[in-house]
C-alpha cells in the first residue's frame, strides 16, 4: 500500500515539477514550496542526529560518543563558541559578534585554498618535437660510454669519482639503448599479431560466406558466423592500428608528426588563452592577435563541452520518462495517465478562468 502510494506521490510530484515547462502555475508552486520545506526539515533532522548528538551532546553526556573517543572534550568549545556567535544575529544589537565567526570561516577557507590551487600549477612543459632515438645510434653511444667507463676505471681506479660518474653515464646510455630495442621489438611483435588477426578474420569471413552459399542464407547460424567474421575483422583492424602506433613510437612517422602537431597546438592554446586574460595590457597590436587566438580556443572549448554534455542530460530526461512510463500500468493504478489528465484539466480550466478575469478587467 505504502509502495503504491509512493509511486503516485513520486509521479505526481515529477509532473508538478515538469509543469513549470509550460508556465508558472499552482501545481509548480505547491511542488516548489513542498520541496523547500521538506529539504530544510530533512537537513535539520539530519543535523540534529548526525552532527549535534555525536559531536556535541555525546561529549557532554559521554555514553558512546564518537568525538569523545577521538578528541579531548575541550575541543568542542571553540566550535560551540563560534556557533553561538552566529546566533547573535537574532539580536540586532550584538549581531556584529557574528563577524568573528565569518572571519574564522573565511580565513580558514583562504588558508586552505592557497596550497590546494598550487597543485594545478604543474607545468605544461613538454618537448614540442619528439626525438626518437634509433636502436643503432643508441647502441653505439652506449658502447662508447661503456668503453670510456672501463678505461677510466683502469686508469684512475674503480672507486674514483670520475670512474663512478662515467659508469653511471654508461648505465644511462645503455638504458636508452635497451628502450630503443624494446620499441623496435614491439613493432615486429605487433606486426606478427596483426598478421595473425588478419588471417583469422579472413578465415572467419570465408567460413561465413561458404555457410551462406550452402545453407539457407537467412538462418541463425549464418547470422552468427557473419557476426563473428565482422568482429574478427574489427579485431584485425585494431591490431593493424596497434602496429602503426608501435611503429610511430620507434621511428618518426606521420603519426609522430601528428602527435607533435597536437603538442604544439596545446602549447599555443595554453599560451594564447593565458594571454587573453592579462588585465594590465590593452588588446591591440600583436597582443590582439594572441588574445584573439585565445578566444578561438575558448570558443572551441565551450562548443565542444556543450555538445559533449548533451548526451548525459538527455539520458537523464529519458530516465525520468521511463519512470513515468513504468507508472502507466494497471499494477500501480495507471498513475501517470490519471494524474496527467487531471492536471491538464485543471490547467485548462485555470487558463479560461484567468482569461475571463482579464477580459472583465
Amino acid at each position: 500500500m505504502m509502495a503504491i502510494l509512493g509511486v503516485w506521490v513520486a509521479v505526481g510530484l515529477t509532473l508538478f515539477m515538469f509543469s513549470f515547462l509550460y508556465k508558472d502555475n499552482p501545481f509548480y508552486k505547491v511542488g516548489e514550496n513542498l520541496y523547500v520545506g521538506i529539504t530544510i526539515g530533512y537537513s535539520l533532522v539530519k543535523l540534529i542526529f548526525e552532527t549535534w548528538i555525536p559531536n556535541v551532546w555525546r561529549v557532554v553526556h559521554p555514553e558512546a560518543g564518537v568525538w569523545f573517543e577521538n578528541h579531548e572534550w575541550w575541543l568542542i568549545l571553540p566550535p560551540l563558541f563560534l556557533g553561538s556567535l552566529i546566533l547573535t544575529r537574532f539580536v540586532p544589537k550584538y549581531a556584529w559578534l557574528s563577524r568573528w565567526t565569518f572571519a574564522f570561516v573565511v580565513g580558514y577557507g583562504s588558508g586552505l585554498a592557497i596550497p590546494a590551487v598550487q597543485k594545478q600549477a604543474e607545468a605544461t612543459a613538454h618537448p614540442l618535437v619528439t626525438h626518437i632515438e634509433s636502436f643503432d645510434s643508441a647502441d653505439k653511444a652506449a658502447t662508447e660510454a661503456e668503453k670510456k667507463a672501463t678505461d677510466l676505471a683502469a686508469s684512475k681506479g674503480a672507486g674514483s669519482d670520475e670512474a663512478i660518474k662515467a659508469r653511471i653515464d654508461a648505465d644511462e646510455y645503455r638504458e636508452r639503448a635497451n628502450a630503443a630495442k624494446a620499441r623496435k621489438d614491439a613493432v615486429s611483435a605487433a606486426g606478427a599479431r596483426a598478421d595473425k588477426a588478419r588471417a583469422a578474420a579472413n578465415d572467419a569471413r570465408k567460413q561465413a560466406d561458404e555457410m551462406a552459399k550452402k545453407g539457407p542464407a537467412d538462418s541463425e547460424e549464418v547470422h552468427a558466423a557473419q557476426k563473428k567474421a565482422t568482429l574478427a575483422e574489427r579485431a584485425a583492424i585494431g591490431a593493424e592500428m596497434a602496429t602503426w602506433t608501435a611503429y610511430s613510437k620507434s621511428e618518426y612517422s606521420v603519426l609522430t608528426a601528428w602527435g607533435d602537431f597536437t603538442t604544439i597546438v596545446l602549447f599555443i592554446g595554453v599560451f594564447s588563452v593565458l594571454f587573453y586574460f592579462f588585465f594590465s595590457i590593452e588588446h591591440k597590436g600583436p597582443v590582439k592577435v594572441f588574445s584573439r587566438l585565445g578566444i578561438i580556443f575558448l570558443m572551441i572549448y565551450f562548443g565542444a563541452s556543450y555538445g559533449y554534455t548533451v548526451m548525459g542530460r538527455l539520458s537523464l530526461l529519458y530516465g525520468r520518462l521511463v519512470i513515468l512510463r513504468d507508472a502507466c500500468y494497471p499494477s500501480v493504478g495507471f498513475a501517470t495517465p490519471v494524474l496527467l489528465v487531471a492536471m491538464i484539466t485543471v490547467l485548462v480550466v485555470l487558463h479560461f478562468q484567468n482569461k475571463d478575469k482579464e477580459e472583465n478587467a
Binding site: G6, V9, L13, T14, F16, M17, F18, K29, N33, L34, Y35, V36, G37, I40, Y42, L44, V45, K46, L47, F49, E50, P54, N55, V56, A64, P79, G83, S84, I86, L87, F90, R99, W100, A103, F104, Y108, S110, A113, I114, A121, T124, T262, V265, L266, G269, V270, M299, I300, Y301, F302, G303, A304, Y306, G307, T309, V310, R313, L316, Y318, I323
Partner: protein, 225 residues
C-alpha cells in the same frame, strides 16, 4: 568597541588563514591533527548556521502567511512541509530510542532505513530532485537553439564545434567520415588547452584573493560599522 568590531575579526581571519597555510608545509602529525580539528569545527558550526537559515525561512513565510499576501497559501505549504518533516524525524527517533532504551546508539537513526524520513526521501525528495535535474534535457535543447547562431566568426566556431561533437556522440555519427576523430580531437586538444589556461588563471586569482583576505586587504565580507 571599534577594535572588537574590526580589529578582532581581521586578526581572527589572519590567524586562521596563516595557520592553515603553514599547516600545509608541516608534515608533523600535530599539523594533520590541527587540520582535522579545524575541519571538524566547520561541520559543528553548521548547526548554528542552519538554525539561522531556519529562522530566516520561517520568518519570511510566516510574514507572508500572516499578511495574507498574494499566494500566502503556498507559504503555508512550505511551513507545513517543514513542520511535518521535522516532527516525523523526531517522533521516529524518540520512538525507536524508547523501544530499545538499552542501546543508545539507535538515537542516530532519525533518517535511517525504514524510517518515515527515508520514505519521504524516496517518494518525495528523490522524484522532485530528479525531475528538476532532468529539465536540463529540455533546456540544453532550447538554449542551443537560441545561442548557437552564426553572428560572428567566434560564434561560428562555437556552433561548429558543438555540432561536430554532438554528431560524434551518436552511433550514426560514427559512420560520418572524420567526425568521430575530429570530435575526439576537439575534446582532447583545444579543450584541454583552454581548460588548463583557465585553470592557471583561476589558481593565481584565488591565491591572490586568499592572500588579500589573510592580510586584511579584502574585508568586504565583514561589512561596515
Amino acid at each position: 568597541m571599534l577594535h572588537l568590531k574590526r580589529t578582532v575579526p581581521l586578526a581572527i581571519a589572519f590567524l586562521s588563514g596563516i595557520l592553515l597555510l603553514i599547516q600545509y608545509f608541516v608534515p608533523h602529525p600535530w599539523s594533520a591533527k590541527f587540520l582535522q580539528y579545524t575541519s571538524d569545527w566547520q561541520v559543528t558550526l553548521a548547526y548554528a548556521a542552519l538554525l539561522l537559515g531556519v529562522g530566516s525561512l520561517v520568518q519570511s513565510h510566516v510574514t507572508k502567511a500572516r499578511r495574507k499576501a498574494p499566494g500566502w497559501g503556498f507559504s503555508a505549504v512550505a511551513l507545513a512541509a517543514f513542520g511535518i518533516t521535522v516532527a516525523m524525524g523526531m517522533w521516529w527517533s524518540v520512538h525507536t530510542a524508547w523501544q530499545s532504551r538499552t542501546d543508545a546508539s539507535i538515537v542516530t537513526t532519525g533518517s535511517g532505513e525504514g524510517s518515515p524520513l527515508s520514505w519521504v526521501y524516496n517518494s518525495l525528495l528523490f522524484p522532485m530532485g530528479g525531475a528538476m535535474f532532468s529539465i536540463l534535457g529540455f533546456f540544453i535543447a532550447s538554449a542551443a537553439f537560441r545561442a548557437f547562431r552564426v553572428k560572428s566568426p567566434e560564434a561560428t566556431l562555437l556552433l561548429l564545434s558543438a555540432i561536430v561533437v554532438m554528431l560524434g556522440q551518436v552511433p550514426l555519427g560514427a559512420h560520418l567520415p572524420g567526425i568521430p576523430q575530429l570530435s575526439a580531437w576537439l575534446l582532447s586538444v583545444p579543450t584541454t588547452a583552454a581548460k588548463r589556461a583557465i585553470g592557471f588563471g583561476v589558481a593565481l586569482g584565488s591565491i591572490a584573493t586568499a592572500l588579500r583576505v589573510i592580510f586584511g586587504i579584502e574585508r568586504a565580507y565583514l561589512g561596515g560599522e
